[in-house]
Symmetry: D2
Subunit: 342 residues, 4 copies
């Protein structure tokens, strides 16, 4: 931390800060400029929050953090990339992994048809919501236990490991019995009670980025899981809220590259929620792989216009198969100058 | 809902939509323009989500909602304003109500000193965190039960009803025994599991707006509480996330007026989190009252620079007393043209 | 500036930075921590941009600014508040000033009716667009010179000084002959060519904040005017772009207080563009005065539903008169604890 | 447009709207629901702005646009993709095109070294600023005419066509003599005076998206150029402003795909400004091509740490060469289920 004294701060105010920095468990290093002094708090044993509170001390203009606040998720702590296995499928290995399936499990027919279709097209894991976080209490909230049972059945038939969302700490045990990977939805990214308990659940976790979470806040949410004892965390960028209204969210693909640079955890992308438009999901999927994503999670439904949730952004099985084929195509070639002149 | 057909949609595609609108429980009314047709889905018995999924049907360009999706929180359902009583103090009545206290309960001395000070300055309720949602797992997480006990003691002495945050569904019962009003923090605004259980808790709820929640999403979160059986909900605007970095959040004061217009629930403002700067809290408090807020919630600490959380945005007791005095001052007078010419 | 070395930076990399800081015209002060070193660049004679480029040097993690980059607009340069006179009306004095009028000048009848009406209601200056920045080239672009002539006539009759927008450097001279104050619209806040020429125009300038400008960027735009020789600048907060869609923009009222704290220039608010909703303009106007605004600028039209631009956010003359009356009402009183207990 | 009447609107209010819709040049089609009526305004000859103003009429709750407001830039007007030739290089053809060069032209040595280097690495056009829009008036503002002359010289030697920014309408003629393509910077995207004159300049235009412009606003800015007579427009996504602070902007890659879907104009991406971080430029460049960008524009400097502007986001010549090589690499392969099981 650097404590930036105000231009007119007195010597007594500066001395007070120096003493407080020591009290907080750091060594103070003072630099006196022509107009103002700055105090660098050096060391790692003390309390960052205590230093931040010094912003309230007289004569202080600002307190500026220097180092990143996360530890276990950082590549400075662990330089090799983490591989997370979910039901035998490895996320974060050489190849990218595709998770696909409906927003919600709606019926036996629907989930079996989807699972068979996405497997045939090359998906490695199945997604499907049993408990759904819905903006309105009057919208379909998921089939609950019935959906969990169907997911287990369909996994047995297809061999596809299952990812499903956990909304309540009371459901963790039950869902863990039926699913291979537990998803924390974007709206629960900072539900610390849920994170703390998932840290003890013994299952890999798919942690979605909150719609207004900075990359740092996202990594600190993952830090709760690692600090609590669960190293098997996959990060998922799913779009952030911005002023743009043509897309449901703004898919922050640079954040995928950045999260992989700052952290050793695998990072996947969700172009379905990230764009909210069926026409953009395939190109956004290609872009996600190009920027380094370890995988994709995509909403697929046998009949999107009859989906009970997220139909507008769900691909049909045919569309999904086309998307998968498109992932193998090379990037658009770059014109060389000679070619242009020819 | 209005279903906007694409410019080149075929007659068969239009007929399909007409049939689907009927299936969804609405009456279709078709308007054929020169370039495109639109289908209005009329009625209220059907499923909005089912209509929205028609965006995925062939020939559809967009599905545009017309009516607001909330019911019980709406002024169309209840025209008189709701008054919420918390420990005998009414929020939403004639007068504005001030809730004040520290971010976290840290010690007996700290919470008693704060409670006595804010009461003397005119606060009507005491705030204080026992369980704290913190961005980093390494930051102070609150004293828990010990803090609850202190809050109960200080309430007995001062008579100030107590507001404190609930982070976990497992704590609802315990906290309800100690506090008069249960706060849902901004990060948990869409923690629907928590909302559903708070709807049954029998205590008034202070519902903070999420940092990236639209006013509609905020009201729909309140709808979960009312639909679940709890009519005693107070809304709290506490700033939204924007690109501005000089303030911690952007306090959306127009949202206070808007929420009071759309809903009958009381709405208060949190200028401490809304600005994150001690110098802006007093002017923002005045502005909140001027725009119609039913109250304020303000962070106060006997010694902000030693606060274990949010010190940078906490007022000292002296600063808080000055703020309260300033709330009685009239608005800046407006120059009449004559005066300017004189 | 503080140059934050990376955790693994070598001694040679650190020495290189020390030399470069000296080359850039600053004195380097090094603090060595357990994990990393930081270099503070002290002094004010050198180039900030050159220091910022050091982010590209090997071993550097970040370059963090400490001081604010603006000078002439800062209260550190001038502690007394600036008063700007526009056609005899002082903005930034004891009393708040109200500027009112239509979005666009549409006809003699319209502008005369509006001017008489807003004057009678207490406005001190008249606004009215002659050249309109419109998102679409197919929308009404203003009456141009004809509008300027009407504004001059109406000023002669009513005595109301006139504010109008300048979109083109080629129009500055012409508009200066007809108007008392030149407005820089939000979309042109960083049109530096326009700012540089307005600095020489000899007229006061109303500088609107860009819809995505930080307070710092806004003040730096004003700095262009002051550095170019024009000290008569009034800042105008008119709402920023956020994810909220119920309001046209998010009126950032805390920015009014902040800009007045950082700068000596007067700051007014535009609740018409800031909210885009007629029902919110009056409460937002009260809030603006409560937070310290030096004035308001409000769109008024004799028949809003027939306005050629911005009708949806224009007040009728009756509504405007009501708004003006409402500005004198006191703030909502705060309940004392005793009252609540009684 | 659809005019959504309020729930309690009277029959007289509805009749008034019907008459006004006809006056505005449209045919009204009324749908009466249980709670409210909606009026669809059909036709294309009338004034959209006049319809929008009906939001101010009594009994109206909202006016909702149905069709997109742009015409000439739309793929509905022109289905084949536009190819724009700049100095002989075609943008929007089969191959992607790379534009590279320094933020500012600083010296003969600098611009010649950069041009030779980027040409050798495969760039097809040279960028370089002569007139620079800078947030602070105290920062380097560009070499002006001297820079233009250097760009012309370096073009003669290398054969690379030149792109440079126009900030002032007064410079259009001069810059047109020296450059092959004129850039409109992000801050000037809605400088309509500049757009109108560039429509007549006879040179292709590179139109950057404003940092807070929606895709619609961006396309409408291009509409000014096409409507004014210039069909040679290339759109450039360069990042938007969001709450994320780790990157300078948020590169909205989905907007590249969306703009190409809505419009026939070529769309390129600027990962240098879009991310502001040298470590993210190469992966973001790959992602831009993967999502369908017609090209890239990248900042390159022979010695980034000594750049007079944007050094922190400029690549060295070596880094740029590596980036170009990386553009040919295939996408990360997708694991098939079998592989995962093996």
């Amino acid at each position: 931390m650097v404590i930036n004294m105000a231009a007119g701060a007195s010597e007594a105010e500066l001395q007070h800060i120096i003493e407080r920095v020591i009290e907080c468990g750091f060594q103070p290093h003072v630099t006196r400029g022509a107009e103002r002094a700055i105090v660098a708090a050096v060391g790692s044993g003390g309390s960052r929050a205590a230093l931040e509170a010094l912003k309230a001390a007289p004569g202080v203009e600002d307190v500026v953090p220097i180092a990143h606040p996360f530890k276990l998720v950082s590549r400075q702590t662990r330089s090799e990339r983490t591989r997370v296995a979910a039901g035998g499928v490895v996320i974060g290995g050489e190849d990218a992994v595709v998770i696909a399936g409906p927003c919600s499990v709606e019926s036996r027919e629907q989930i079996f048809a989807t699972a068979r279709g996405v497997k045939a097209a090359g998906a490695s894991l199945l997604r499907g919501g049993a408990y759904k976080p819905r903006t309105s209490p009057y919208d379909f909230q998921g089939l609950g236990l019935e959906a969990l049972k169907l997911l287990r059945e369909v996994r047995e038939e297809t061999g596809l490991p299952v990812v499903t969302e956990v909304m309540s700490t009371n459901d963790i045990e039950l869902i863990s019995e039926h699913a291979d990977m537990l998803q924390v939805g974007a709206r629960n990214m900072q539900n610390y009670d849920l994170l703390r308990r998932l840290a003890k659940a013994g299952k890999p976790v798919l942690l979605k980025r909150g719609p207004s979470a900075t990359v740092k806040e996202w990594l600190l949410a993952a830090e709760y899981l690692l600090a609590g004892g669960n190293p098997n965390v996959v990060l998922c960028e799913r779009g952030i809220k911005t002023f743009e209204t043509e897309t449901r969210n703004t898919l922050d693909l640079a954040a995928v590259a950045l999260a992989r640079e700052l952290s050793h955890l695998p990072v996947i992308a969700d172009p379905s929620h990230g764009t909210g438009r069926r026409d953009l999901i395939a190109p956004a999927s290609r872009a996600a792989l190009a920027i380094g994503a370890d995988g994709l999670i995509i909403e697929v439904h046998p009949c999107p216009e009859r989906a009970m949730s997220d139909g507008a952004q769900s691909l049909s099985l045919e569309e999904f198969a086309r998307l998968m084929n498109g992932l193998a195509a090379p990037l658009r070639p770059v014109a060389s100058l000679c070619a242009a002149e020819a």
